[in-house]
Amino acid sequence: MLAKTPHAALVRLFDEVGTVDAVGVEERVAKYTTRSIKKASKVKGLKLATSMVDLTTLEGKDTPGKVASLCQKALQPHDADLGAPQVAAVCVYPSMVRHARKALGSDTGVRIASVATAFPSGQAPLRTRLAEVKAAVADGADEIDMVINRGAFLAGEFGLMQDEISAVVEACGDAALKVILEVSELETYDSIRAASFLAMRVIREGDFIKTSTGKTSLNATLGNNQVMIEAIRDFYLDTGIAIGMKPAGGIRTAKQSLQFLIAVKETLGDAWLTNERYRFGASSLLNDLLRQLEKEKTGAYQAPYYFSEAAESY
C-alpha cells in the first residue's frame, strides 16, 4: 500500500514544484551583498525602498494616538525638501483600522493594511478569523495580511490550508491580500517554496505572499526572500499571474533594503520594482532610509533625533 503520511504528501508537492539547495541559495544571495550602489543609483534605490514601506505598529500597547502619529509619518516621512516619497501603507491591528482611516482620510495615497486572521498564530476558529477580516475591511482596510495555517501545512493537509486562504480571499472583497507563510515555522527552504506555490495557486493577481509576522525569532532574510521571489517568478512564467512579495521583520537598515531590491532586480526584473508588487514590512527601516537620503543630499550624517518618531518608539 502506498504511504498516505504527511511526509508522502510533502514529497509529492516537492516533486511538483521542485526543491531548494540551502547552500546554493545562500551563496547566491551573498552576491547581492557585494553589489556597490553609489550616487544617483543609491538615491533612486533609497526612494524606491521608502515608497515600498508598510509602516508598521503591532503592539498590545497601540493606541489611537500612536496610530494617528504613525499615519502622519506615513504621509510625510520627513521635511518636504528631502523629496522622500510617501510610504506605501500603514500596517495596524484590526481594532486600529478605523483610527488609521480617520487619521489618513479617504483621499490618500497611503493604504491601510491590517493583520487579520488571529495574527500572529492564526489559532482561532475559521469563522472568527473570517469575521475579523470582514470587520477590518468594513472599517476601511485596503489590504489584509493573513497568516496561513502552519499546523495544516506541516500535517500535510494542503487542501485545508488552501481552502482557508480561499475563504479569506472571498472575505477580502476588493481588499488586496497578503499571505504570511511564517517562514521560521516552516523551517526549510523546501517548505517555504512549496508553501509559496500552495498560496499563489489560490490568490489573485495583485495579491502578495509575505515572509513572516515579525513575532518569531527569524524573519525576512535574503535567503528566504530569494526562495519566495524565485517561486513568484516561476509561477508567473507558468501562468502569467503576477504575485507580489513582502519581506517583513528584521530589515532595519537602508543597506539591507537595497540588497533586497537588488535581489528583486536580478530575479524578477523591472516589473516588480514598484510598491504594487514589492513591499517592506518594517518600522525602524524608514528612518534609516531618510537618514541615508539626507546624507546623500548634504554629505553628512544627521543625528537620529533630527528625524521624527525615533526608531525606539515603534
Binding site: 531548494v20 546554493g24 553609489k38 544617483a40 524606491l48 501562468t239 516589473a271
Partner: protein, 499 residues
Amino acid sequence: MPTLAEKKTTRPSRPAPELIFGDLWEFDPAPETADPKLKPRYDLFIDGKFVAPKSGKYFDSINPANEQKLAEIALAGRDDVDAAYAAAQRAFETTWGKLPGRERAKYLYRIARLLQDRAREFAVAETLDGGKPIKESRDFDVPMAAAHFFYHAGWADKLEYVAPGRRIAPLGVVGQVIPWNFPLLMLAWKIAPALAMGNCVVLKPAETTSITCLKLAEILRDAGLPPGVVNFVTGAGETGAAVMSHPIAAKVAFTGSTEVGKIIMRSLAGTEKKMTMELGGKAANIVFDDAPIDQAVEGIINGIFFNQGHVCCAGSRLLVHEPVAEQVLAKLKNRIKVLRVGDPIDKNTDVGAINSREQLNKITAMVASGVKEGAELFQPACKLPSKGFYFRPTIFSGVSMSHRIAREEIFGPVLSILTFRTVDEAIEKANNTAYGLSAGVWTDKGSRILKMSTELKAGVVWANTYNKFDPTSPFGGYKESGFGREGGRQGLLDYCKLV
C-alpha cells in the same frame, strides 16, 4: 484552477509572460579606487635583487580592459635563466636546503601576512593586468593565494607526516611555468609547496600577466627570504622553454595548455627530471531531473562564466537530463541576461575582459565554428565597452558530441549544452573526452553522487556545487588534463623524494 493548457486555449491572445531586465534602476559606476602601486618598468628578480635582462630588452604589458600600456616587463634570455638557476642552486646548497622546516615556515607565514596586508593593492593590480572582475580578484584570487601560503607554512614543520614510515628530502631546484588565468594564485600553488618542502624555485609567469608576480617579489624581499630561494624570469615561450629544459632543474611543474604541455614532455623525454603537468579541460557539468534547478543554474553560471571562462576546470559542457532540459535552458537564458559585462575594475562587474586579443580571436573562431556546425546560439543583448577585449556570455544549445565546441577547450565564456537520458549515458558522455580535470553532478540523490564520483574520470568531482577550491584539497587531472596534484598532502608529495 484551470491548467496551463486550458488557459492557453481560452486566452490565445495573451502573450507569453516574460521578465523585463531593463534599465529602470541602473547602477552608477563603482570603480575600486585602491592604488595598485605599479612601477613603469619591471626587472627580473634573480638572487634577491631586481636586475635588468642581459639583452636589455623589455616588452609591454597592457590592460586588456582598455588596451592601454601598464608597464614594461623585462625579457629574460637564456643567460638570465642560467643566472637564475645558478642563484637557486647556490641558495639550495647554502641556506634554504639546510634550514629546518620550522624556520622555513616562518618565512611562509610572513609572506602570507604581507600579502594579506597588501590585498587590495594586489587585487587591483591583478584586475588591471589580467582583465578579471575586481570582485573575483578581491574575494577569490588574493585571499586564496594567501591561504595557500598559510596552509603550506603549517606543513613545513610536519613534513614527516607527508609520507608516514618513509623519510623524505627536497628535490633541489624546481623550474615552474604558470598561465595567465590566475597569475597570483597559480604562483602561490606552485611556490608555496615547493618552499615548504625545502626546494628553491625558478618561475616564469605568463607574458601577458607578469605584474603581480613581480609585485610578489617585493613581498619576498620584504619578508627577508634568503637571496636566490625564489627567482622570477619573465618572457614568452622561449624563456619558458629555457626554464623547463634547464639542466639544473630537478623537477619541472607546468600549468597551461595541453598543446604546450606535450611539447615540454617531448623535450624532457629521456631525462631524469620529475614532472607535474596541469593542463586543459572540457569538464562535464551534469544536471539530473531531481536537482534543485535554480541552484544548479547558479552553479552552471559560476562554472562557465567565472573568470570569463578562463578556467581549466570550467564546466564548459553542460549535460542536462532530458526531462528538465527545456526548463534549465529557459532559466539559464534569464540568468545570463542579468550578468553585468564590462570594466573589470567596477565592483559590480560579473564578467570582465578577455585576457588578450589572441584569446579573443580564438574564442570568436570557436563560436563561429559552433554556429557553422549547426548549434543554436544565445547571447544576451548587453552593451560592451568600445575599447578592450570583451566577449558576450554565450550559450550553445542543441550541441552534439561530435561538435568542435563539445570536444575542444574554448577557454572563454562559452557553454555547450548537451542532453542525456540515463545515468549510464551521462557517464559515457562525460568521460568521452581527451580531458579529465573536473566534473560537476547536480542531484538530490546522495547515492547517485557517490556512484558518479567513482565512475567519472576526472580529478575533481563537485557535487551540487562548482568551482570550489581549498588548499587542503588536491587538484589535478586524468588523461590529457595532466598528472600530479597541487594542494593537500598529495601536492607536497610531488615536491619531494622518498629516501
